[in-house]
């Protein structure tokens, strides 16, 4: 607001002064912002390639692939992301189509259900999940259900993480797909396709989904970014996907952890840039879809 107070006296000044004045504060604001946002990235890079008293080295990068646990944790994260994307889309797409065909009250119910995870921070969700998982050994150890508890927590592919991530991704996915479906007249399309003899599945796969390509891509990218960067839930449940691995490796290999952070950042950014360009060619659909939702995923 400093700009406003300095701008106040110029209201009386001639028009010419008004044109040049705002440029200074605009330039200053953007320069400071640019400095603040670029410095950490630049110095991260410098940090990884410059070792004091040794000069330039790219060891931090070349060593990543052979680092202990890197490929396993990255593979785990990617497969978790794939499973989460599949599950989230399988759940939300039919629900949103149903909302447009069914009673109006269903719409409100689905919206509330998808937005509720916004109110529960990831750390609160994980305390709840940990409590439920503890019931396994406590109460169900002599029932067949116990096997389910064990299977869900399988080290090599923890299904419980897929379930938790899907919950965290619901608001993103719902928002993105809902925005996409808004441009589609679902009842008419469905009726037309049904009249032409299409089955329910054919309607969804052949008619609805092609209309949603860009929102499906958007939802998938956001979910991928969320799962790749997720730390809270995984670390507290004791699993070791990518983000947790970065933290474990940071103790012994500070440079490498920064290098991996930088790389994962650039990859995530590239994904999000693709997303904002994707589909109907408008950053306008992608940015607002991504905008208010980072609340729950943010850690």
């Amino acid at each position: 607001m400093a700009a406003l107070t300095t701008a106040a006296p110029e209201a009386l000044a001639p028009v010419k002064a008004r044109r040049t004045r705002p440029r200074y504060w605009r330039g200053a604001v953007l320069a400071i912002a640019g400095l603040y946002f670029v410095t950490p990235l630049l110095s991260s890079f410098v940090f990884t390639v410059h070792v004091p008293n040794q000069g330039l080295t790219f060891e931090a990068y070349s060593g990543i692939l052979s680092a202990d646990g890197f490929t396993e944790s990255l593979f785990l994260s990617l497969s978790l992301a794939a499973a989460t994307i599949a599950l989230a889309l399988l759940l939300v797409v039919p629900a949103l189509v149903a909302v447009r065909l069914g009673p109006p009250r269903l719409r409100a119910v689905v919206e509330v259900v998808c937005m509720l995870p916004l109110v529960v921070p990831p750390i609160a969700l994980v305390t709840g999940i940990a409590t439920v998982l503890r019931w396994g050994p406590d109460h169900f150890s002599r029932t067949p259900l116990y096997q389910t508890f064990l299977a869900v927590q399988n080290e090599s592919f923890p299904v419980v993480l897929v379930l938790a991530y899907t919950v965290l991704a619901l608001p993103f996915v719902h928002r993105s797909l809902d925005a996409g479906l808004r441009a589609v007249d679902v009842p008419t399309l469905v009726e037309a396709a049904r009249n032409c003899g299409a089955s329910r599945l054919q309607v969804i796969v052949g008619v609805i989904l092609p209309n949603l390509r860009s929102s499906l891509a958007g939802a998938s990218f956001l979910t991928l970014a969320l799962v790749l960067g997720e730390y809270t839930v995984a670390s507290l449940l004791g699993f070791r996907p990518f983000a947790v691995w970065i933290v474990t490796v940071s103790g012994a290999e500070a440079r490498m952890s920064v290098a991996v952070s930088l790389l994962s950042l650039l990859i995530t950014w590239a994904l999000l840039l693709v997303l904002s360009r994707a589909g109907t060619g408008s950053a306008t659909t992608a940015v607002p879809a991504a905008a208010p939702t980072p609340v729950p995923g943010k850690e």
Binding site: L30, A95, P117, P122, V167, Y231, T232, P288
Partner: protein
């Protein structure tokens, strides 16, 4: 996207009432089926943990007798001593960072909106969309490399001699702003776009100074958006855990760190329920945030479009 929202939204709701009354009456039973998997999933994977959390926060189980009774003891304890400190610490950090980010976000957004260069606007908006989604572990390590003990900027500027410490409340503030400011830019740009130049011209023509324009027209119109943005940033900072966990460990009292400590058994036995109670406290605060944000969001969109 926003203009299409009000026009398209009534479509599905309004059209079937007139034209498709018959179809709608024929199908509700099956339509529910499409939403059923989602509802079952939400009940199981969200409702069950949330219920377990609530139940654990307000009950006590006697380990010997195995009986369970309701108690306010955990909630009470979660609002005392170190737990209270961590809650207020989190609230303070979130409020401070959200306030600073609101101011800077609005300044950047205003600089972009008033700029006549379209490329600048596109670049800043895209960068904000990307940066706002950036958080967690990589952010923490990027700042360790920059302003940490052996960070590049710390070494270059000899900041440690000046008493700089990244692993502190101030350090966390600097880091949180990195994702909060872009978030504010995204939230507030549509609102600033909605401020019509005609209003400004009208104010000038009736003799208002720039200050008077902002005081009586600009800020009142923007107020719901600004407050809504602030609340959203608050919620975002409040729920943040990974960055702080990777960075400060336990040196800054934050409620998310306390919960994580209690969960991973770094505290006395029997504190799990306090972790649940703390989580419940967090949910209440996050719920309040949403309860403030959503009506403001609706109100500002009504005003500005």
């Amino acid at each position: 996207m926003t203009p299409s929202h009000p026009t398209a939204a009534p479509g599905p709701g309004a059209a079937p009432v007139k034209a498709g009354g018959r179809t709608r009456r024929r199908r509700p039973a099956r339509a529910w089926l499409g939403a059923l998997p989602l509802l079952v999933f939400a009940g199981l994977c969200f409702g069950l943990p949330a219920g377990a959390l609530l139940y654990g926060a307000i009950t006590r189980t006697d380990p010997v007798a195995g009986t369970t009774e309701f108690t306010g003891e955990h909630l009470q304890r979660s609002l005392q001593g170190p737990y209270l400190t961590s809650l207020t610490g989190s609230v303070e950090l979130s409020a401070l960072t959200a306030a600073i980010a609101t101011v800077f976000g609005v300044l950047i957004a205003q600089a972009v909106v008033t700029s006549r260069r379209g490329a600048l606007r596109g670049a800043v908006l895209t960068a904000s969309g990307v940066l706002a989604n950036f958080g967690g572990i990589p952010l923490a390590f990027a700042f360790v490399a920059t302003l940490g003990i052996s960070g590049v900027v710390t070494q270059l500027g000899h900041l440690d001699a000046l008493g700089w410490n990244l692993y502190s409340f101030t350090g966390l503030t600097v880091i949180y702003l990195y994702f909060l400011i872009p978030l504010m830019v995204i939230v507030v740009v549509p609102a600033l776009d909605g401020l019509r130049p005609q209003w400004r011209e009208a104010a000038r023509n009736t003799g208002a100074t720039t200050w008077q324009f902002w005081r009586h027209v600009g800020l009142p119109v923007l107020a719901p958006s600004l407050l809504g943005g602030f609340v959203l940033l608050f919620g975002s900072a409040f729920a943040a855990h990974a960055t702080a966990a990777a960075l400060v460990g336990g040196s800054v009292p934050l409620v998310t760190l306390k919960i994580a400590d209690a969960l991973s058994g770094n505290v006395l036995v029997g504190q799990e329920n306090v972790a649940l109670a703390l989580s419940l406290d967090m949910i209440v605060i996050a719920g309040l945030v949403m309860a403030v944000y959503l009506p403001l969001q609706r109100r500002s969109s009504r005003w500005l479009h």
